[in-house]
Subunit: 568 residues, 2 copies
């Protein structure tokens, strides 16, 4: 392809409003342009990468017998009301009405649509399992779209849905899909981790999230430095040593006037925060909940919400602490707590002795307290804690480290949530009607573009992995309108295309400096410069990732390119 | 691919609500399902055909150096207001607001978006010409979606846009694109005509429409039985012999009480309709217009509208004939017509003598009238007439015939309409700023599916052209779970796949009759039945289009298939 026939509006300056490196580079290298907030046009180079990603995905889906199809993007609102998600998605749904005032949504995901289409005929165990997928633009009215393609409002997804007759079938498909997804991310040259995701809304922990390591990532991943363990910070189980047994001391009330924080309390009483029993007041679906936790730890809202099975969870306001918990903000504690309040104890408290705790009275705390001072029997302890760096990994192997990640894929065992809601049933071997057991699987294709660039770039631009590069080879004549250079360039392009390579020829009348800078920015794996030595049939090969250059003659060219591309 | 892994919900009965044969067959053969009026899901077989069409289009676009990219489907309403089309598209636009109350439309076409994206950098004659295209779902809120994919509200288009520096460059690209489109329709096995379209809204006649011949088509095409001439009925020029000269007779008023139609008038006065000067009253952008035409012809609204340059045209109501035209409904004529009314004469009236005409008085007509009886000088005649079958073709070669057609593609020389509206300029060789000269080109990909099936079917189902069939070969074992048949079937599938063929294997536990009926319905070019002679390595090949069958041994299979597919 001749470069003059593509539209590649490169920029000299880094756009000031782009924060993420991938966003900056995609703008600078002429890959995308914003049409409105979070809505992008994919210019020819970006679209070429997208199509290569799609082909990789197709190849892996073929292997697991998943069939490609295409659902509409405009979906009847009724279907979403039936599943209950019209409500739960709220403002994130783009909504519209047609000329007859019928309500529609722009699909952010298609569980309802697939379920409703297959239920017509997927009515016997003989037709199961079945896996269907599509690759399609999705819509989500993000409150704060940002980071270019990372959090957009129109974005390309591959979404797959599996329909099975029983849990065993589902497990087989789920594992096949996990492997397929791993193959896809490996092929895309990504450094990623498969982690236990927040499956809260879907129920259960039968889900995995694939996260590409990147500083710009919106999720914090907790992983072990010595095992496969990784989890979203919100989901990471926490394993900890029990507090040490010591001699029980005499409890006494101490004055703590106007002290409202753990750190102020620790300073005033000259104790470690680990010696304070912290109380955090919540409203869970309008019910008061008090969580007790060691003062050096924080409550993990997701764990708490999942344990309670609550739809909405938030910290209580000071007014609620007074009015609902009948306590004093800053001095709240479990002793004598109103019986309407559910009191929970985090496992960080196991064995804690001689601690400081609030008494629901202003300006005092109980010092050297022990469990028998505040409750009648030792309570049950549960894990409500956010894991910390340096802790022992929950699997017992290695220490926990944190890193940031970009969610690039997600696989879920959905169960019967949607099939029940939409009445999608099948007859089993015994002629009994059962709801279909479903799984859903998704890859953020456009977001993958950002993740790959976040991991593959340098100060000069993008560095494409060979499998995804829009073109593998960039032929850059110093002067294309010079007869010798032009002729050799054309010959080289033909030679390489005949070998099956995608080749981009810079046929523009630009200064060499401009061409080289653009070439680095665009980031194709190999640049072939055709210059003065063209008369001798000699050209320069430059490897984008290392910057190394070698001179080769036309005769050695195909072989050299083959070796260089293989070794990247 | 195993048939059990696809979702192909075939139906025994023809759905009663589907009128078009293609719509019926796509439902019956399990290709599509309706999700809401005019909005479809493309099941695996249909999507496979769509992807083959996309590949054919890509190949042809590559040849003309057009570059693929992708624009968003949700577009800022402001862009459409700027071009003026927010208004003119009216209710056909799907409109929506985001959570911040910003207005968007779902793109039915992308002239504005492409123009606005390229204007940033396409700023020099050196960068021209440039052709960009995309393949994308489009949205149009049709008042009456019908005929399945033929008139949908979400539909797949290929839309291309060319940017050029001058008319010559535009002509070159336009001709290249026409040839590319012809190649695409030829490859798709379509019987189509390239016709002069209604370019009214775009201006000028520099447009061509590609129309697939089909009874269900919404357009009537007038074509010559002896030349290349074809045009939409609305646009077909009309060439006719002049009326014969005869002796002028004496005009007289005759009573024609309560006679309001040409046929009633002709019967009452015992004259041919061709002897009556018919008057048709219109309101064009609220201005009264009276068109005179021979009684055996009809006025072509499109020609009239184009001639007047009017935005809205409709026939006047009887009230308007009385109040605005100051005449009497049924008895209107040019004589003494109010001077506010523009009176036009169709060329069918050239040389007409001794005719019948209204006098703007109730219950009388002028009989044996001549032009000097009704107007002061012979008026100018223009072509406002709808052409009729059997007429001489406007190019003078052959007779006109009518057929129905489905619009499958359209190419336009847009000129500077959008570049001017959106300020997309470039510097020419002399450093002077000029608006870009544009062309736009479109193929209705999903509609193409319908058009192809309309032309390729029989009473048993679809008959796919080889190039588009979702799979070229259907391997149908009578009993797949019979060891011998199963093994031979698997071998055959592998053999053919290794030769590069797409093969569908019917591995279902269904009765042979069901399998054969489904196979005919789905319509793959070759069926290979593996039955009792499997033990001898013998199978039956059936050609879908002719119904012919031959027995071949496994050894001859690949060769036989190759020959049969080539000769279709």
């Amino acid at each position: 392809m001749k470069q003059s026939k593509l539209y590649i509006p490169t920029l000299k300056q880094t756009p000031s409003d782009a924060e993420a490196v991938s966003h900056q580079l995609m703008l600078r290298a002429g890959y995308v342009r914003q049409v409105s907030a979070g809505v992008y046009s994919y210019l020819p180079l970006a679209w070429s990468v997208i199509r290569k990603l799609e082909d990789i995905i197709r190849k892996e889906m073929d292997k697991v017998d998943a069939a490609e199809m295409q659902m509409p993007a405009i979906l009847p609102a009724d279907l979403w009301k039936e599943s209950g998600r019209y409500e739960t998605y709220g403002d994130n749904l783009f909504k519209l009405k047609d000329r007859h005032e019928r309500e529609f949504v722009l699909g952010p995901t298609h569980e309802e649509t697939f379920t409703s289409v297959v239920k017509e005929s997927l009515n016997s165990y003989k037709k199961l399992p079945l896996v269907l997928y599509q690759m399609q633009m999705k819509y989500r009215d993000e409150d704060r779209p940002r980071y270019g393609l990372l959090r957009g409002r129109e974005f390309l997804m591959q979404d797959a849905y599996s329909f099975t007759a029983n849990k065993d079938q589902l497990d087989v498909i789920f594992n096949q899909m996990e492997q397929a997804y791993r193959n896809i991310f490996d092929a895309a040259g990504l450094n990623y981790r498969a982690i236990i995701g927040d499956a809260g809304a879907m129920g259960g922990t039968d889900s995995k999230e694939f996260s590409a390591i990147a500083d710009i990532g919106e999720d914090t991943i907790a992983y072990s430095d010595d095992s496969d363990y990784s989890a979203n910070l919100e989901m990471a189980a926490s394993k900890m040593d029990e507090n040490l047994v010591e001699d029980k001391k005499e409890a006494k009330e101490v004055d703590t006037p106007n002290v409202h924080t753990i750190s102020a309390l620790a300073e005033l009483l000259k104790v470690e925060p680990a010696r304070i029993m912290k109380a955090v007041a919540y409203m869970a679906d309008d019910e008061p909940v008090l969580v007790m936790i060691r003062g050096d730890y924080d409550v993990n809202d997701v764990k708490l919400k999942n344990y309670l099975g609550a739809d909405f969870l938030r910290e209580a306001t000071p007014e609620e602490v007074s009015d609902v918990f009948k306590s004093v903000p800053g001095f709240i504690g479990p002793k004598g707590m109103d019986e309407k309040v559910k009191v929970l104890y985090d496992s960080s408290l196991v064995g804690l002795m001689n601690f400081v705790v609030g008494l629901n009275k202003a300006d005092v705390h109980l010092f050297n307290a022990n469990f028998d001072d505040i409750v009648e029997e030792t309570p049950e302890f549960r894990d409500f804690r956010i894991i910390k760096e340096g802790e022992t990994s929950p699997d017992g192997h290695g220490k926990i480290k944190f890193t940031r990640g970009i969610e690039i894929g997600h696989i879920f065992k959905l169960g019967t949530k949607f099939s029940k809601a939409l009445g999608a049933n099948f007859l089993d071997e015994n002629g009994k009607s059962n709801p279909l057991i479903m799984g859903c699987y998704g890859i953020g294709i456009s977001r993958l573009l950002s993740a790959i660039i976040e991991q593959h770039n340098d100060e000069n631009g993008i560095i494409w992995p060979v499998a995804l590069a829009p073109y593998q080879i960039h032929v850059v004549p110093i002067k294309y309108n010079n007869d010798v250079q032009g002729k050799l360039s054309d010959e080289i392009v033909e030679l390489l295309q005949n070998e099956g390579y995608d080749v981009l020829l810079d046929d523009r009348k630009e200064r060499p400096g401009v061409k080289f800078a653009d070439s680095d920015l665009i980031g194709l794996p190999i640049r072939i410069t055709v210059g003065k030595k063209a008369a001798d049939g000699i050209v320069e090969l430059k490897i984008r990732s290392t910057g190394e250059t070698i001179e080769v003659s036309k005769d050695e060219l195909v072989n050299s390119v083959k070796i260089l591309l293989k070794n990247q």
